[in-house]
């Protein structure tokens, strides 16, 4: 073991990149998990190739994983990597733009021969043509070293070569002064039925670690001390998993079983996979024949007294509009999860985009408002899907939940909530205070109907998609009644504003500039605002989770700043909406539609140009 004491860093961004089959996602997660156990704050983002496996060695087949770890609070996986590990020329080529100038690149030189260099689309060998002069290159024959290290192990060549990711991980562990213990434990449990694989992987891990000490290619190694993290029990969680678990928690709280009707689609499918494991908790998952059947089955389940949920991505959400309208008319609970992705049409299925705010707000025939909320970090998908459940059950109208590919696949450490501390969710139960039950009687505060379900004797009634008469719920073609019901439905959703938290402001409470965002851009916006503050430019940040209705205090907040900048990963959907709701203010825009999150720098640059600093 090296005895030089490592250099201390506040934070560092590391990127793993290799062929889809090279195990980079695993390597990344192991590094992440070990760092979390050491007390670092962190955030990760996997960068998958498009859905189908491309031929080995091509740029299309590269799979990446980025993690930022710190002793300071970490809000994003980082703009650019300080260290990249590239397992072949294609991985180098497609990831080089993600490395900061001056950063370190560790390269498996074994793959840098002509054939693979060509396959990656290079004309000349980048290791020789000077194109990497701006970076610190650490050349290591990772594959052959792994083979050498494992030469005595009784395994076929293919399986031995597969261990090269552990060799790479070992190097990284030395570089960042991390223990190998957690990964060893992991290997022992994962391969418990194949001891030879445990041995091989451990050997590769150790060999990498020792190799890094030996070559000392980097002047010294680094230490990222633990961050100041709130005490508690933690686990690592992705947005899709947090969404699934939040639903489990909400169903338990409501005392209803969870019904999840869905049709697979990237990047929403993992919620289905996750929930289908929890049958013992009473979850029913129906993989429907299409998105329409999915939402309709959820409507049926809600009607019959379960917590009905459906999920999809843009193209599938576009198909659900008619059915969501039915749930709005029937005034029953329904959660619609939209894990947004790049569009329009099939678009960029594996890429992130804040694509569907307009669709959520307006994608139905006629005036049919519903509640719209969005999480803002992978972990808080738990909290906000729980909120979605609370609102749909208590207000008896659908809630659309706008996650996206970045939140869904990104992950971060998550302090486990105490289930008992979660807010209660009250079912709107009909109380017979002398009045006879009628299907469109309403709770006086929330203006919602009561959730009376088949099987309850004496309350038999009929509902449906034709316009309803106020109170009785009978079909009505009466003009005044139609106006009244249109108004009631709008008012009901507006009333929700009385039951959600006020909008919080981060940073300056008034002044030159307010930055406004929603959903998955939170991490970058927060980082940008914090950095600007440090640089002596305090601005305000309002990051909206409750999109319809908007928090009641938002209107006043917007008035407290000289300028307002609205940033989104689309061509301007929130800003258009704000112009409608609060037309008295002027808004500037920062938009990006590239299938990628904002970098902190992009946000800071825009703000600086507005403020002339």
């Amino acid at each position: 073991m090296s005895k030089t004491s490592p250099v201390e860093l506040d934070k560092v961004v590391i990127r793993f990149a290799g062929d889809s089959g090279d195990g980079m996602q695993l390597t990344g997660s192991q590094f992440t998990y070990t760092s979390a156990m050491l007390g670092n704050d962190l955030a990760t983002f996997p960068d998958f190739p498009a859905e189908i496996r491309a031929p080995q060695g091509t740029v299309e087949g590269v799979s990446g994983f980025q993690v930022q770890i710190g002793k300071v609070d970490i809000y994003t996986p980082g703009d650019r990597a300080d260290v990249l590990i590239a397992m072949n020329p294609a991985a180098l080529r497609s990831n080089i733009d993600w490395v900061r100038k001056g950063g370190n690149i560790i390269i498996d030189t074994d793959y840098f021969e002509d054939r693979n260099i060509k396959k990656a689309g290079y004309e000349t060998n980048p290791l020789e043509d000077g194109s990497l002069d701006d970076y610190k290159i650490i050349e290591a024959p990772i594959t052959s070293l792994t083979k050498t290290a494992l030469k005595d192990i009784d395994l076929d060549n293919k399986s031995i070569v597969r261990c090269k990711n552990m060799f790479a991980l070992g190097m990284m562990y030395w570089l960042f002064d991390r223990s190998r213990n957690e990964t060893v434990k992991f290997l022992e449990s994962k391969f418990r039925k194949y001891p030879v694989l445990i041995e091989a992987n451990k050997k590769a891990l150790d060999a990498g670690f020792n190799y890094a000490i030996t070559i000392r290619a980097i002047a010294s190694n680094y230490k990222i001390p633990p961050a100041k993290i709130e005490p508690g029990l933690y686990r690592h969680i992705s947005g899709n998993q947090a969404t699934a678990w939040g639903l489990l928690a909400a169903a338990e709280k409501v005392g209803k079983k969870l019904f999840y009707g869905s049709y697979p689609i990237t990047p929403a499918s993992d919620i289905l996979h996750e929930l289908s494991k929890y049958k013992n908790l009473g979850v029913i998952t129906l993989q429907a024949e299409d998105e329409i059947a999915a939402v309709c089955s959820a409507i049926g389940a809600s009607y019959a007294g379960q917590l009905g949920v459906t999920a999809s991505a843009g193209p599938g959400i576009a198909l659900k509009g008619e059915a969501i309208g039915l749930a709005i008319m029937a005034e029953i609970p329904l959660i619609v999860i939209d894990v947004q992705r790049g569009g329009p049409s099939t678009g960029l299925p594996t890429k992130t985009e804040q694509a569907d705010l307009n669709l959520a707000l307006y994608g139905r025939n006629s005036d049919s408002p519903c509640i719209v909320i969005a999480p803002s970090t992978p972990a808080n998908c738990f909290q906000y899907i729980f909120e979605a459940a609370r609102l749909t059950v208590e207000h008896m109208t659908p809630v659309i939940f706008l996650s996206d590919g970045y939140l869904a696949n990104g992950s971060e450490p998550w302090k486990l909530p105490n289930i008992n501390d979660l807010p209660p969710i009250q079912v709107q139960q009909f109380k017979e205070n002398g009045q006879e039950y009628q299907p469109y009687l309403r709770d006086p505060d929330k203006k919602s109907r009561y959730w009376v379900i088949p099987g309850m004797a004496g309350y038999e009634h009929r509902i449906g998609g034709l316009e309803k008469q106020d109170v009785t719920g009978n079909v009505s073609y009466d003009p005044e009644n139609h106006q009244k019901m249109i108004d009631i439905r709008a008012d009901k959703v507006k009333t929700v504003a009385n039951f959600i938290p006020e909008q919080k402001i981060i940073g300056a409470k008034s002044g030159e500039l307010l930055l406004v965002g929603w959903g998955s851009t939170f991490g970058s916006m927060l980082s940008a605002v914090k950095e600007l503050e440090k640089e002596g430019h305090p601005i305000g940040l309002v990051h909206i989770n409750y999109l319809n209705p908007l928090p009641k205090n938002l209107e006043a907040i917007l008035g407290d700043y000289k300028q307002i900048l609205v940033g989104e990963l689309n061509s301007g959907q929130l800003v258009g909406y704000l112009r409608q709701i609060y037309p008295q203010y002027k808004y500037q825009q920062l938009n990006k539609v590239q299938g990628l999150p904002f970098t902190i720098t992009e946000i800071k640059d825009k703000i600086k140009s507005i403020l002339n600093i």
């Binding site: 007390g39 079983k257 429907a288 089955s297 389940a301 008619e322 486990l416 009929r462 449906g464």
Partner: protein, 344 residues
């Protein structure tokens, strides 16, 4: 709530208990009236509590049905009733779920949900009111309209070959198929009662008359002569006989069915096929479904009723099995399972 009342003795229900206070608004003479009445007669004969009956419909004349029943009811959207009904049944398997649909609702826009519900064998009863036309939208052809039929949207006659609801259902793995007619209240009531006892998706095709846009579409079967010569009332275990004097019957000739007359050409009772509704192989059932005048009678009654696990039962079984295996009993335990770490 129903759970508390499980053991309370039930007062005997009557037709009136199933009649809502809403004015029935079909055209005078529409076949739907008779179907409504037959259902209202059937429900009291089904040993379920009133509050456990649920009627789910799509859109169409037929689909207005739930408003006229004083049970729980949900008039949903066009074509999607099977999906809604699937959600209802899974949410609460104790409910007795009826889906009401028309030929357009079930086989045009709803065709996919129709075959998938049947494939899953979810335990619901589907009543398909087949008037071979779109009634509510005033007379366009439907997927069951005849080839060549002139309708509002086919002024020169239709050029699509009609679906057979029964054949489609069997191809989708259907476990129960019955056919009846709006002019025979007794048969309807009886079939409704029996279909409710089948576990799995029961499809009941009702030949229904739309007096306004497709009058006498089923005239060949329901008309005076039709009644005797073109209706074959099937009963499990009974020979396939029909005709005024039950003098005609069906027998097998190679791969084909054949109409024969007892006493002619040396045919006697023993040549006549015996109806086996319970056989899993669908070959004969398909042949029976395909028959139609003028060369054959129309098969009525329960054509197929075979046993297979229902989707809702299998869901319940997996639930039970997973409860036995699970290492956590609630969300709190789940959260704390697996890879966690403590920050002090």
């Amino acid at each position: 709530m129903s759970e508390q009342a499980v053991d309370a003795p039930q007062p005997k229900l009557t037709k009136k208990d199933f009649t809502s206070d809403q004015m029935v608004r079909w055209c005078p003479g529409c076949g739907d009236y008779a179907i409504l009445s037959a259902i209202q007669n059937a429900l009291p004969q089904i040993p379920e509590k009133k509050e456990d009956f649920v009627f789910i419909s799509g859109i169409g004349c037929a689909a207005r049905f739930p408003y006229y029943m004083s049970t729980y009811g949900f008039h949903t959207i066009h074509g999607r009733a099977p999906a809604v009904a699937t959600g209802v049944k899974l949410a609460n398997p104790k409910l007795n779920v009826w889906e009401i649909t028309g030929d357009g609702d079930a086989l045009a826009i709803g065709g996919n949900h129709f075959i998938h519900a049947i494939r899953r064998n979810i335990d619901i009863n589907m009543l398909l009111f087949n008037n071979e036309i779109y009634g509510l939208t005033k007379g366009q052809y439907s997927p069951t309209s005849r080839f060549g039929q002139v309708t509002k949207s086919t002024p020169m006659g239709g050029i699509e070959r009609p679906f057979s609801a029964g054949e489609l259902a069997l191809a989708a793995g259907g476990t129960f198929f019955a056919r009846t007619i709006d002019t025979n209240p007794k048969l309807m009531t009886q079939i409704f009662v029996e279909s409710s006892q089948h576990s799995g998706t029961s499809l009941i095709e009702i030949l229904q008359n739309c007096v306004i846009f497709n009058d006498k579409a089923h005239g060949a079967v329901t008309g005076k002569e039709g009644k005797d010569d073109f209706q074959l009332h099937l009963e499990h275990g009974k020979p396939m006989l029909f005709g005024k004097e039950r003098e005609k019957g069906l027998r097998l000739n190679g791969f084909r069915l054949e109409v024969v007359t007892i006493g002619e050409n040396g045919i006697d009772q023993s040549d006549i096929l015996i109806h086996d509704a319970y056989q899993h192989d669908s070959t004969v059932h398909n042949m029976l479904i395909r028959m139609s005048p003028p060369h054959f009678p129309m098969a009525l009654g329960i054509i197929r009723a075979v046993k297979a696990p229902t989707y809702d039962q299998l869901v319940e079984q997996q639930y039970q099995a997973s409860v036995e295996k699970a290492s956590y009993k609630n969300v709190d335990q789940l959260l704390k399972s697996g890879n966690t770490w403590e920050v002090k």
